[in-house]
């Protein structure tokens, strides 16, 4: 389908999964990781309150800026790098075709 995009997710065992996903159903990256059973995350349901969904963005896609809530959660997390983001705050859309992410270590 036209709306499908490819996303690569590297899990905590260093295994890379290539996923083809619809970009027009309002799904976020945390939900994608959960539904594809790559990693169990999302304690807070996706409102930037638990930090269980930290990922590193490894491609140079332009993402929406971090909200204040996301930045304050990142302030509290361990293993934070300059390319850290909360997967629940990244809504999938067709500009993210080819996005590469790596799941951060468990807190």
């Amino acid at each position: 389908m036209d709306s499908d995009i490819q996303i690569s997710i590297t899990d905590r065992n260093d295994k890379t999964h290539m996923l083809e996903v619809p970009s027009d159903i309002g799904m976020n990256l945390m939900e994608l990781c959960n539904s594809s059973e790559i990693s169990k995350m999302g304690i807070c349901g996706g409102i930037a309150l638990c930090g269980s969904c930290q990922v590193y963005i490894e491609s140079d896609h332009e993402l929406t800026d971090c909200s204040n809530d996301e930045l304050s959660m990142l302030d509290n997390l361990m293993y934070v790098k300059s390319n850290s983001r909360l997967a629940c705050q990244i809504k999938l859309n067709n500009k993210l075709n080819g996005l590469k992410v790596r799941i951060a270590p468990d807190q």
Binding site: I43, C44, L49, C50, D75, N76
Partner: protein, 337 residues
């Protein structure tokens, strides 16, 4: 060693553990709750106290923190006892048929019935990546402030940039001899009123604020005495102190519950939906910690589970006798002393 005897020992003082006290109280059963958090409320107190909840029957909207306050009021007539700030590490059955729960701080709770309402698990602190951090736990490093008096006239260094780091830094200026706050970034994103209070205290030299900085080394013998702080990723300074308190929030981990011989599937305890009993007679599991076909991790589902659970608990405690079913409108609330 502190010893408590009760009818139902409840592991976890989240909403489901709390509501069990009410339903048990209606049947005349006493409860003792244990939680590793220093306050009751589970996820609602630790993760989202200021978020509104919209799906509690009969209450169109309520802040999570207020729901916990109301639950505490609702169960007050039944006089539950609490052991807060302690983690249940052991659960065993004794020869007299009673269970014995043991905490990490040597409290012992004895009861005929155990209800595990452990939610997503025991809340454990996020620990900063400092090499010898664990060596100084309880001898200079604390992750949770249980009793602020411990820090009276002491030199305290707090690290973190969230609300709890800000709020404790503010509070401890009244108690400690010296308060230092270390934050990874320059700006704070906590509640604006806390941020401005901290800034005022910095101006008044009551808080020593070090930003763009991280603690990277702990030094001491049997007790922590000094830390090294790396600023702007280059300069390193040393500081003497009595306590280092990293406050980066808590994360739930299933923890000790996994070692109690219960059937576990994907981090949750399998139960029989008849009464939410586990594979071990006398041990029940309710709320987010249990799993069964169709399980939903919702507060209202946990309340229902708690209600059915105490009926079976009654039968165990009263050796097979059935509880009598009565409406609260008929009986009112008869407290327990």
């Amino acid at each position: 060693m502190k010893i408590f005897n009760t009818d139902i020992a409840i592991v976890g003082a989240g909403p489901c553990g709390l509501f069990s006290v009410f339903e048990a109280g209606l049947l005349g059963l006493k409860c003792h709750l244990i939680d590793s958090l220093p306050v009751a409320g589970g996820q609602l107190s630790e993760i989202y106290p200021k978020k509104p909840i919209y799906d509690i029957p009969g209450i169109p909207e309520i802040l999570a923190g207020d729901l916990i306050k109301n639950l505490m009021l609702q169960i007050a007539p039944f006089n539950p006892s609490f052991t807060l700030g302690e983690t249940v590490i052991g659960l065993s059955k004794k020869e007299d048929g009673k269970f014995e729960l043991e905490t990490n701080q040597n409290s012992v709770i004895r009861s005929k019935v155990v209800a595990i309402a452990g939610g997503l698990g025991n809340f454990e602190p996020r620990k900063p990546q400092i090499e010898n951090l664990i060596q100084y736990e309880n001898c200079g490093v604390d992750y949770i402030i249980k009793d602020p008096e411990k820090y009276r006239n002491k030199k305290v260094v707090i690290s973190g940039g969230g609300d709890s780091a800000l709020d404790w830094a503010i509070y401890l200026t009244e108690v400690a001899n010296q308060v230092t706050l270390i934050h990874r970034r320059t700006g704070f994103r906590g509640a604006p009123e806390s941020v401005s209070k901290v800034m005022r205290l910095v101006q008044q030299k009551k808080i020593d604020l070090i930003t763009n900085a991280e603690v990277n080394k702990l030094i001491g013998n049997s007790h922590l005495t000094n830390i090294e702080i790396k600023i702007d990723n280059s300069e390193t300074i040393s500081k003497s102190l009595d306590f280092f308190i990293p406050l980066f929030g808590l994360v739930p981990k299933l923890g000790p519950i996994a070692t109690w011989g219960l059937n576990i599937d994907k981090q949750a305890i399998e139960v029989n939906t008849l009464d939410y009993s586990t594979n071990s007679k006398g041990i029940f599991a309710i709320g987010d910690i249990n799993t069964y076909p169709g399980k939903l991790k919702l507060i209202l589902c946990g309340f229902h589970e708690a209600t059915l659970m105490v009926q079976s608990a009654y039968r165990i405690i009263h050796e097979g006798k059935d509880p009598s079913f009565k409406y609260t409108t008929v009986t009112g609330i008869k407290g327990i002393n």
